[in-house]
Symmetry: C2
């Protein structure tokens, strides 16, 4: 196999995702990348995200109609979207127990699941 050549842009974009607290919008990824590589363009961000996705290092999360990206390999988790401030949080708790291969609801073989919770985050819930 041919190992992809390492490039500054790719490394920076990968690190932006890896160090993020949660999933990021493309526009967000662009500005964070430009903090290190000011000349980087939008096309490169999109191309790199596709490449990293194909390699499995990153994956898209569609949340509330917005496409965000997050680093893979962080273990099983879900997302919480605060209906007040709009921020997205990563929750490592899981309210679902359906092992892969479970036959559910009359014949549906479940391989994976995704849960999105909506409500008030700790900050917004405390009235501040």
């Amino acid at each position: 196999m041919t190992a992809p050549r390492s490039t500054r842009q790719r490394d920076v974009i990968a690190r932006v995702l890896e160090t993020a607290e949660g999933p990021l919008a493309v526009a967000d990824i662009l500005v964070r990348t430009q903090a290190d590589v000011p000349s980087v363009g939008l096309a490169t961000v999109y191309r790199t995200l596709k490449l990293l996705s194909d390699q499995g290092h990153v994956h898209p999360v569609t949340l509330d109609g917005e496409t965000l990206y997050e680093a893979s390999g962080r273990g099983h988790h879900h997302h919480f979207l605060c209906t007040v401030c709009g921020r997205v949080f990563t929750l490592h708790a899981c309210p679902v127990s359906i092992p892969a291969g479970t036959v559910y609801a009359g014949g549906f073989v479940v391989e994976a699941h995704e849960v999105t919770l909506y409500g008030r985050c700790p900050t917004c819930a405390s009235g501040r």
Copy 2:
């Protein structure tokens, strides 16, 4: 209040959604509507979907990056996306028990939840 005037297009689009087995893509809604009203245009479909959404008769579902629409008022349900045939199914079973108001994962007040299951639908699972 002014009751919206009934129109053929609107009625047909609403009925398309109401009689659908699950959420539909906009392109799908267009062709199904054109079966009854061949002259209908895409803009009218979008405008009508927005109107029906604002009235609460219909709501968008973003699934796997695609925006689909389904009729409201069908009770609590979730979606199953078949990884083989790509079809979306509506499941009235719910694998989550988090009543509204539950404080979850250390301070997150949950008001609603959404679950998407991935796997093989009954047809694809039976090897046909």
